[in-house]
């Protein structure tokens, strides 16, 4: 099996796996970073969102061979102490119900706010539309993005 060198949360990892393996499963099964979640496997739900060179991407669709050489950030590496403004906002608003989709929601929101720190309501709703929350905590997610935006600006 081929080996790949990955840069995840500023650390280097060498993994041996088939080249078509999605980054999601490399993270979860081989590098023990299980914060990135499996929801659909076809890029529809956003639970597996990570940052690739700062851009939010679906790790279930990104093959390990394509991820080589990229700077990958997962929920575990978003901040050193869980104190990224988006994480703090999520805590302040008490967003999670079951909590399963929230890593993906936080990764989408943090990449979005990085590009647009002071979004309006419809920009927030558009940016977060790709992330499904089955508990439908959408009102709280929306509020938390606004709280995070205030913290960032």
């Amino acid at each position: 099996m081929p080996t790949f060198n990955l840069k995840i949360n500023k650390k280097s990892h060498t993994v041996e796996t088939d080249m078509d393996t999605p980054l999601l499963w490399v993270l979860r099964d081989q590098i023990d970073l299980v914060g990135t979640k499996f929801g659909c496997g076809i890029g529809q739900c956003g639970a597996c969102t990570v940052h690739v060179n700062g851009t939010a991407m679906r790790s279930c669709l990104l093959q390990v061979s394509q991820a080589e050489g990229m700077g990958i950030t997962t929920i575990e590496g978003l901040s050193e102490n869980g104190d990224h403004p988006v994480q703090e906002a999520w805590k302040e608003v008490d967003v999670p119900q079951c909590g399963y989709c929230q890593a993906g929601q936080i990764m989408t929101a943090s990449a979005f706010l990085n590009n647009n720190p002071t979004p309006n309501d419809s920009e927030i709703r558009n940016a977060m539309h790709g992330n499904i929350c089955r508990c439908a905590a959408y009102n709280s997610i929306e509020e938390a993005v606004k709280v995070a935006s205030k913290k960032l600006s």
Partner: protein, 717 residues
Amino acid sequence: MTPSKQITFSRRSFLKSSVLASGGMIIGFNLFNACKADVEPPVDISQLNFNDFNAFIKISDEGKVTIFSPNPEIGQGVKTSMPMLIAEELDVAWEDVYVQQGVLDNKNYQRQVAGGSQSIRHGWLPLRQTGATAKQMLINAAAAKWGVDASECSAKQGVITNATGETLGYGDVVKEAASLEVPEDVKLKDPKDFTIIGKGKGNVDIDKIITGKPLFGLDYKEEGMQYASVLRPPAFGQKLESFDDTATKGVSGVTDVIRFGDKIAVLANTTWAAMKGKNALKANWEQDSEAENTAFHDEKLFEILDSKELKTLRSDGNVEDAFANADEVLERTYESPFLPHNCMEPMNFFANVTADKIHLVGPIQTPAGTAKRVARMLERDESDISLEMTRMGGGFGRRLYGDFAMEAAEISNLAKQPIKVVFSREDDMSAGIYRPATKYRFKAAIKNGALTGYQMRQASINGNMWGAMASFFPAGAVSNYKIDVGNYRSNITTGAWRAPYTNFLASAEQSFFDEVAEALGIDRIQLHMDLLDNAKRNTDANIDYSPERLQGVIKLAVEKSNWGKTNEGVYQGFSVYYCHNTHVAEIADIRLDNGNPVVEKVTVAVDCGVVVNPLGALNQIKGGVLDGIGHSMYSDFSFKDGTPQSNNFDSYQLIRMGQTPKVDVHFVESDMDPTGLGEPTLPPVGAAVANAIYKATGKRLYKQPYMSNMPLEKVIG
């Protein structure tokens, strides 16, 4: 509710309190007799054990408190709210409390079930008593140390104080307390002295959730564990004839292929390899029973609605006479599809079956029943089984059924190694235990401007009615009243789905009442208030709702929503419902955007008694409303030749942020014992939306999802 209660524990209710080798003490109370369920459970599932449960408190020498939350956490917030009840009466600072999920423990916990919105309702007194008893023991220990009478001492925020002002922390006296007798009676706090109950407390797992720590079943790993991906019959009614695993065995990482019954498990050292291996299997299936289509189900259900041989669940007066003598008879039929649960975390379970023990780990709403079934299946003693509950990425009823845990145990038993079964989304959606497709036909008799007869007939796949529901509104409010049910027995598996039985019934019924009000020429709100007045006067009637509390939520929703006084272009729809012991009224505000309805706001009035955790309560209420809107408007699920026609989120729509309104929640102030919130706000909302759409468009909606009978834009992410 009496403000403060003297509770007497019988001696046999005491389990143990003991000094821990590691320091501190543990107090366990068997509250087996303190919390008998006095009503029939709303979820009629054999493995549900609605008896009682107990709780453990562990206090360290430093005074830190660990509370084991006995019930499974599926996102409904009990891992926070149940320990709040204990901590309140124990009287400790919430900041000093550490909450840990209890493991399955048949001897010491009872009713370790998440379902039916019953956890808080059943836990309200016993959990408070547990905390209060522990507090009294700590006070008694301090009093003995000081050589004073316990009645001269008090405790607050983890500190015991005597008459002279001396203090001792809980941690200072835990060892002594653990060896004391358990007091026979303890006094519960007056609700006005609550410092934790009624104050918003954040999710106890929040730090782990926002930093991606392992919490869920899918995150669980053990050394040497193999991942198992399972190929199941692609259609209901099929069984496995033969298969070829040549290609599968060529997939790198695949370690074994095991047939069990009509399924094939592919074992591999990563999830991806297991899934790839499963996709490479070539299987031949044979038809074993009927290959059913949605059109076939529709035909069967209409035959049932038209037939005379339904089972009558309740009959008051004589509806036939009422219809025969009516000035006008209104009859409408409402239809709903099957629905998959689609928990965000797909079904999964870990099992390690060895000669001397069986270890099971994963997300499950019914740990006790599942352990029993595994023991029976493998012909093992139940005492061989240990089961650990993980946090669940949603439940919605799907995790009441332990089919995935049974699969894991069966595969591990055959493979003789630790394995974890992981469903793909496609597996999860097509090997479902669905909300049954159901049709309701309502008939109203109108005479001299009054509702004189009311009949509801249900036709459902495999059954969708719980007997006591026949005593929900409008039972007791209409003198001639009849509820009939009939079912078609299908090979498609069906079961409880969030707010079982009522999730569509409420929508159908409350849409029908909108038409009844129109036919009567009475204001919609007035019709309900009048009918509830009838129910109040009819004191002999056997009803399972409170007309006063329903009127209370109606008044509150009307007031808060500015009913009838909205801006131009905003249309309002009303709905009110009682289920899962909670009374809810909802008013939806919609607007038309290019002819498409957009739900802008839903005003919710809730009477759930005391609100234990306002933050958690708001989450449940808002989530329930948006979940209800999503499934009534967008989510469709059909079958062709026994095969589900959607199996992932590209062909099945769940509600997304852009489609969600603001949910504005108001509580009826109450000191009544608390009732659950995981379900009751979901059922009524479909009707609130449908009734608003009618006002905006003049079009009545009879079939869910509403998207299927009007031009709602389908949005996929």
